[in-house]
């Protein structure tokens, strides 16, 4: 009884719309890790990173402290 995800316009198809929401959040998570790596490589502090993300310094550090600076090639 699955509906196929691509058979209706975006607004009328909750199935597709929910999939987009999930995908946008995953994309944001990935871009966030990439941006943190670049920011650290440019010498940003965690306080700056947190401010740019609109989160607390604790939240930023807890979620993202495993990211290491991008190595320039």
């Amino acid at each position: 009884m699955n509906e196929t995800p691509d058979d209706a316009s975006e607004t009328d198809n909750p199935e597709q719309a929910f999939a987009s929401v999930v995908a946008l959040r995953l994309m944001a998570d990935r871009l966030e890790r990439k941006a943190v790596a670049e920011a650290l490589a440019q010498g940003w502090s965690w306080a700056r990173i947190a401010q740019a993300l609109g989160v607390s310094k604790q939240a930023a550090h807890k979620r993202l402290s495993s990211v290491t600076p991008t190595i320039k090639t």
């Binding site: 196929t4 990935r30 990439k34």
Partner: protein
């Protein structure tokens, strides 16, 4: 009693293998906690081979399913209006997640898989836990990446369920 205990112990080993594999697969996709779709991919690697046989019956490979999951993600971003180049760019050079530590943490759909496996026992399913059980639980989920990936591969839910039932009948 001893048999039941042994059963439980054997299942614990299978569950542990399954959970750790699902976590590794999720992490490789930059997702900290495994969802149902990562349990499917993990089930395909279980030594009992039943999930892999179901996939062979369906004429699809683990690699094709994995790629279908990625396609589903990309199509969902493009449906939201993101252009293909930025979709692809978002997947490149993502810093890896840290090695998991602390208590095991599945995503809600992954938890639903584990609960579904426990519920199989309550429904009287006997014998050791096998990969096909994981497929059975996940294929009963109407929504989520796995349903979309199967649909994308042209395998609708009844077809998937039939292949699982056929494998179960062979195993019994």
């Amino acid at each position: 009693m001893l048999k039941k205990l042994t059963q439980t112990f054997r299942d614990m080993g299978t569950i542990k293998t399954l959970c750790e594999a699902a976590e590794q697969i999720a992490n490789a996709e930059h997702q900290p906690a495994p969802g149902a779709e990562h349990f499917v991919l993990a089930a395909l690697e279980l030594p009992d081979g039943s999930a892999a046989r179901v996939f062979r019956k369906l004429g699809i490979s683990a690699g094709a399913f994995r790629e279908a999951l990625r396609d589903v993600h990309r199509a969902a971003l493009m449906a939201a209006g993101v252009n293909a180049e930025d979709v692809a760019g978002s997947e490149r050079d993502v810093p890896p997640l840290p090695r998991p530590s602390g208590p095991y943490n599945a995503a809600p759909s992954g938890e639903a898989v584990l609960n579904g496996l426990a519920a199989l026992r309550k429904r009287g399913v006997t014998g050791p836990l096998i990969g096909a059980h994981v497929l059975e639980v996940v294929s009963a989920m109407q929504h989520g990446p796995s349903a979309h990936a199967f649909a994308r591969l042209g395998r609708d839910a009844p077809t998937v369920m039939a292949a699982i039932q056929s494998e179960m009948a062979m195993a019994a």
